[in-house]
Structures are given as structure tokens and as C-alpha cells.
């Protein structure tokens, strides 16, 4: 792998991380904490929305984020021919 390729792989990787971690931050610290009181004005079934993100929604999003990451990285690894098998 050439140094230029290596650099590109790494910067693509960082971009993926930053995007996913931004979502991670927004749903947990954003919706579940900082904006929770405001979101509580809205409802999803019997839940106030801020409460739902704090106690349920953020956890579901965490699970999805990891699997999205796995998918994107597997594709990236193949594209740069650094995959393992």
C-alpha cells in the first residue's frame, strides 16, 4: 500500500467516524439531555419525546450506529484492498 493510499484510507475512515459520532452525540447528549425538556413538548405514544430518547431511543440508535459502521468499514476495507480475507 502506497503512503498516499494509506493516507486516503485513514482520512476516509476519520470522516466515517466523525459522522457517526456526531449522530451518537446528538441523540444521547442532544436529544436525551440538552434538548430533552424542549422535546418533551412532543409525544410518541404515551412517552414524552425527550424522556423516550433518554430512556429508550438513544440505545436503539447506538445499536444501529455500530452495525452501520461495520457495513461501511467492510466496504471501505475492500475498496482499499486492506480487508482480511
Amino acid at each position: 500500500m502506497t503512503p498516499a493510499k494509506r493516507k486516503e484510507y485513514w482520512s476516509r475512515n476519520l470522516k466515517v467516524l466523525l459522522t457517526l459520532l456526531a449522530i451518537w452525540f446528538v441523540v444521547s447528549f442532544g436529544f436525551g439531555i440538552l434538548l430533552a425538556d424542549w422535546l418533551d413538548n412532543f409525544r410518541i405514544f404515551g412517552f414524552k419525546l425527550g424522556f423516550w430518547f433518554a430512556q429508550q431511543g438513544s440505545i436503539y440508535v447506538f445499536v444501529v450506529l455500530i452495525f452501520v459502521y461495520v457495513g461501511i468499514m467492510n466496504r471501505l476495507d475492500r475498496e482499499f484492498d486492506v480487508h482480511e480475507d
Binding site: M1, R6, Y9, W10, N13, L17, L20, L21, W24, S28, F29, G32, I33, L34, A36, D37, D40, I44, F45, G46, F47, K48, G50, F51, W52, A54, Q55, Q56, S58, I59, Y60, F62, V63, L65, I66, F67, Y69, V70, M73, N74, D77, F80, D81, V82, H83, E84, D85
Partner: protein
């Protein structure tokens, strides 16, 4: 069959299963002992990680805590799950590529320094011992309440079981027993939760049930709970009460601490590939999320049931003489107390001290849940087996970290590098054995501070390990001077703040806290401090040598991840 007979039967069967697995999966090499041979399937590892991670505190105490904290209980829910995103994205794949056995291995090699390695060994042992003592205590408590043996006997039985499979099988034995323990604990948690959800709301899934209408009419369950709470002088259940900055800091400290806990990280050394390490973290979080999305539902159900049973349907207080049997059963253990202040023979629960007549321990919310909902005897027995599975699986994972820190990082890498693999394996077993005994003693004679310190292990891990590992991967310029000063400053600041506000000057209230951040959340500030110090010191001193920069380049790409080996 009585509850006691059921409990003996179910707990006995589960123990027989763990021992059977231990015999089947003996370790014959250090690779087996430290990383289960590096050949664990990612889903299997995910399940083992979930059991490793969910301790007696998750199983027994968390729902109860939430039930008394309302929305603020989310600090535990988000804090103890969100860390897996950090682990999967920022640490696990790279540490797997690095391919050694332990965290001190990584710190020592990446920072080309035995001092750094030793600092990491001390942090790992300190964090793990505080944690494991709480687990053994949990084992003792479950034994004493459900099997009617005293706490000491309970701890000794628990020690014997853990000793058997941890010392014999090492990581290999631990991995496969943890899989069995996960199945036991999740079954034990879900069965009562589903029963109660159906009773209260008609929904099979508790996750939907607690956002649904009450079966008997009366609107949404959570609205009802908010209304009752307000009537009794509490804040509405679904509102936050702590200062926002403190909720933020505690959540962050727990998340980052989770990602930095050595017994969780080492689980990702056991899978064959980098790809598997990523996937495995996702599976671990699925298995954890099953319990963690149920816990807040259990919390809300239990609080509603509890208030309605004690205060009666009309809210005037239920007659003590007609109280259901669980009130009297748990009174015997001291977890419920009733003091008839107004002498009317009725129980009453409220916020203000004049009206309130009940003292209710938070642990009761899970332990007594099946009785409160009138579930059959075998469900109650199942909860005992689940609590034991949660405590034993976590204890075993922690003991392995302690034993590998001593036999591998301290003896093999620093004190006597000449020992053969056979001798190292022997030392690993000895260290595990000694650690089991010490952990048991801490469980039998708990120092007064143990219970409190367990919660702080996260802050300590967040402020020491996380920045050192993260920068070790993402910043080539970080050198040994930076990492060592950073770890020492981070953990010293966090420990000092906790010790000051909890033990030296416990009367100093919230108004004296730094930025209103409680000792539980201060690990977040310690971590920021660690990052700042590491960065600054690294920039002011010489860059790391060439071969370290190559090492970092190498761990950033997946290809070439061999089995976890000893170089």
C-alpha cells in the same frame, strides 16, 4: 414445590452447567488462558461480553435506581450503553489489530516504556479490585436472601465456583460459562418483566408497555405515574431533577469509562479478525440493550405497583393488616420498613417526612418484583439464579484482568522475562487463585467504602486509560512523556476529588462542587484534563521513535491481523 425448593433446584442446575462447561474448556496454553485462543466467534463473544459487562449492579440495582430517579436514571441507561459505540468505533478494531493480550501490553509497547506499562498495571488492578468486591458482595446477598444461608457461606460457595472455572479455564473457560450465564440472566430478567407488562398494559414487550395505556383504563401509564408522583409531593416521574451539566458529566464519565474498562476491552482480543472485533461490539450491545431497554420499563411498572399497593387504590393508605405477603417477607430482611406515624394502622408513602411512613430499599424493585406481581414460585427462583449469573460472570472477567496483569504484564514483561510459557501459565493460575481469595475476603468483610467506590471505577477508567489508548491510535505524535503525565494527572485529579467530597469532607454539599459536577461525573473533567496534559507535554518533548510511528501506521489498517500473540 416451595420457593426455596425451586431456588435450590434452579440455582443448583445453573451451577452444574457452569462447572460442566469449565471442565470441557480447560486452557492448555497462555493463549487459551489470556484470550481463549483468539478463535471465539463474534456473536459468541458478543454474548460473553454482555454477561461480562452486566454485573450484579445492572441486574439487581439499576431498575430500582431508575425508579427513584425518574428521567435522570437515563445517566445509567445511556452511560452504560453509549460507551459501546466509542469502543466499536475508536478502540476495539485497532487494539485487535495490535494483537497482544492486555491493555498494559498496548500502553507499554505503544509508549515504549516500562513505566507506562506499570502505571497501566496499577490502574487496571485498582479499577478491577474495587469492582470485583462489589460482585462477591452481590453473590453473598443473593444467597442469604433466597437460599437462606448466611452471607459468608454464600460468598465462599461463589468463590469456589469462580475459582473452579477461572483458574482451570482462564479466558476460554470464562468465555463459554459467560455465554451460559447470559442466557440465564436475560431469561430471569425478561420473564417477570413480560408478565408484569401484560398484567398492567396488555403488551408483551415491556419496551412498548410502559408507553401504553393502562389496561384498566385511566390513560397512559406514564401520565398516571406523573400524576401520582405530583400528588405525593415528588417531582413528576418523567421530568429531570439534577442540574443538566451534572447529568451530562455523569453520562459522559460512564460512557467513556465503559470504553476504558480493561475487562471489557480484553474481550475483543478473543475474536479472530479486526472485522470480527467491530461486529462483536455490535452484538454485545444488542444483547445488553435487551436488558437495558427493559430496565426503565421495570422501573416504571414497579414504582406504580409499589405506590398503588402501599397507598391503596383510593390513595388513603392500605391497611397494614391486609398488606400482601411480600411486604412482610421483605420487612424481615430490613429492605422495607413501616413506621405508623399517625397511628391509623395504614401504610403511606410520600415525599415529605411527616406523611411518609415507609422506608424502601431500591434493590427491592427487581428482587421483589415477581412477588409484587404475584408470579409463580419458579419465577422468583429464576431471579435468584439470574442475579448470581450476573455477579459471577462479571467477577470472573475482572479476576482474569487482575491475573493477567500480574503474570503477564508484571512478571513476564518486567520482573522475570526468562520464564517459559508453562511457568507463566502456572503463575497466571496462581494469581487468579490469590485474586479470587482476596475478592472473597473483600466480599465477606467489605470495607465501608466499597459499595460507593464501585460507581467511581468508571470515572477512574475514563480519566486514565481512555485518553492514553485513544491518542495512542489517533495521534502519532503522542509520546511516552505525554501519556504517562496525562494518566497520572487524570487519575490523581479524579481520585482526589472523589476522596475529598466523599470521605474527607462528606458534608460539603452540591454548592461546593466544581461547576455543580458531582463526584460521580468528575471523571469526565479528569479525562479532559488528561487529554490536555498529554497533548501539551507530547508537543513540548521529543516525538516518539520511528518504529513506534510505524506501529501506529500498522494498527490503522486491518490486513495482517494475526492471532493475538506474544512477540
Amino acid at each position: 414445590m416451595s420457593v426455596l425448593a425451586w431456588t435450590y433446584l434452579i440455582v443448583g442446575l445453573s451451577f452444574a452447567l457452569y462447572i460442566g462447561i469449565a471442565i470441557w474448556s480447560r486452557a492448555s496454553h497462555t493463549r487459551d488462558f489470556y484470550v481463549a485462543g483468539g478463535g471465539v466467534h463474534p456473536v459468541t463473544n458478543g454474548m460473553a461480553t454482555a454477561a461480562d459487562w452486566m454485573s450484579a449492579a445492572s441486574f439487581i440495582s439499576m431498575a430500582g435506581l431508575i425508579s427513584f430517579m425518574g428521567r435522570d436514571g437515563a445517566v445509567y441507561l445511556m452511560g452504560w450503553t453509549g460507551g459501546y459505540v466509542l469502543l466499536a468505533l475508536l478502540l476495539a478494531p485497532y487494539l485487535r489489530k495490535f494483537g497482544k493480550f492486555t491493555i498494559p501490553d498496548f500502553i507499554g509497547d505503544r509508549y515504549y516504556s516500562d513505566t507506562a506499562r506499570l502505571v497501566a498495571v496499577v490502574c487496571a488492578i485498582f479499577v478491577s479490585f474495587t469492582y470485583v468486591a462489589g460482585q462477591m458482595r452481590g453473590v453473598g446477598i443473593v444467597f442469604s436472601r433466597f437460599l437462606e444461608v448466611d452471607i459468608t457461606t454464600g460468598v465462599v460457595i461463589g468463590m469456589a465456583i469462580v475459582f473452579f472455572y477461572a483458574v482451570l479455564g482462564g479466558m476460554k473457560g470464562i468465555t463459554y460459562t459467560q455465554v451460559a450465564q447470559y442466557v440465564v440472566l436475560i431469561f430471569a430478567y425478561m420473564v417477570p418483566a413480560i408478565f408484569i407488562s401484560i398484567l398492567l398494559t396488555g403488551h408483551v414487550f415491556p419496551q412498548f408497555g410502559f408507553g401504553a395505556d393502562l389496561s384498566g383504563g385511566g390513560g397512559y401509564l406514564l401520565d398516571k405515574l406523573d400524576g401520582l408522583s405530583t400528588e405525593l409531593g415528588f417531582d413528576p416521574y418523567t421530568n429531570g431533577q439534577k442540574p443538566m451539566i451534572d447529568v451530562f458529566a455523569i453520562t459522559a464519565a460512564l460512557m467513556i469509562g465503559t470504553a476504558g474498562l480493561p475487562h471489557v476491552i480484553v474481550r475483543f482480543f478473543t475474536v479472530p479478525k479486526v472485522k470480527d472485533a467491530r461486529k462483536s461490539a455490535g452484538w454485545a450491545l444488542i444483547f445488553i440493550a435487551i436488558l437495558y431497554t427493559t430496565a426503565p420499563a421495570v422501573a416504571a411498572f414497579a414504582r406504580l405497583n409499589m405506590i398503588q399497593t402501599i397507598n391503596g387504590a383510593d390513595g388513603a393508605g392500605a391497611l397494614y393488616s391486609e398488606a400482601p405477603s411480600w411486604v412482610k417477607n421483605w420487612e424481615k430482611t430490613g429492605l422495607i420498613k413501616w413506621e405508623d406515624k399517625n397511628g391509623d394502622g395504614r401504610m403511606f408513602y410520600a415525599k415529605d417526612a411527616d406523611r411518609n411512613e415507609m422506608t424502601i430499599d431500591r434493590d427491592i424493585m427487581v428482587l421483589a418484583n415477581p412477588e409484587i406481581a404475584n408470579l409463580p414460585a419458579w419465577v422468583i427462583a429464576l431471579v435468584a439464579a439470574g442475579g448470581l449469573a450476573a455477579a459471577l460472570s462479571t467477577a470472573a472477567g475482572l479476576l482474569l484482568v487482575i491475573s493477567s496483569a500480574i503474570s503477564h504484564d508484571l512478571l513476564k514483561k518486567v520482573v522475570m522475562p526468562g520464564i517459559t510459557e508453562k511457568q507463566e501459565l502456572l503463575y497466571a493460575r496462581l494469581a487468579a487463585g490469590v485474586a479470587v481469595v482476596i475478592a472473597g475476603l473483600l466480599g465477606i468483610y467489605p470495607p465501608a467504602f466499597v459499595a460507593q467506590v464501585v460507581a467511581f471505577a468508571f470515572g477512574l477508567a475514563a480519566s486514565s486509560f481512555f485518553p492514553a489508548i485513544f491518542l495512542g491510535i489517533f495521534d502519532k505524535r503522542t509520546n511516552k512523556q505525554g501519556a504517562i503525565t496525562g494518566m497520572v494527572v487524570g487519575i490523581a485529579f479524579t481520585a482526589a476529588y472523589i476522596v475529598y467530597f466523599k470521605f474527607v469532607n462528606p458534608t460539603a454539599g452540591a454548592d461546593q462542587w466544581f461547576l455543580k459536577i458531582s463526584p460521580e461525573g468528575i471523571g469526565f473533567v479528569g479525562m479532559l484534563l488528561n487529554f490536555a496534559v498529554t497533548y501539551a507535554v507530547s508537543r513540548m518533548t521529543a516525538p516518539p521513535p520511528e518504529h513506534i510511528q510505524h506501529l501506529v501506521e500498522d494498527i490503522r489498517v486491518p490486513r495482517g491481523a494475526g492471532e493475538a500473540t506474544q512477540h
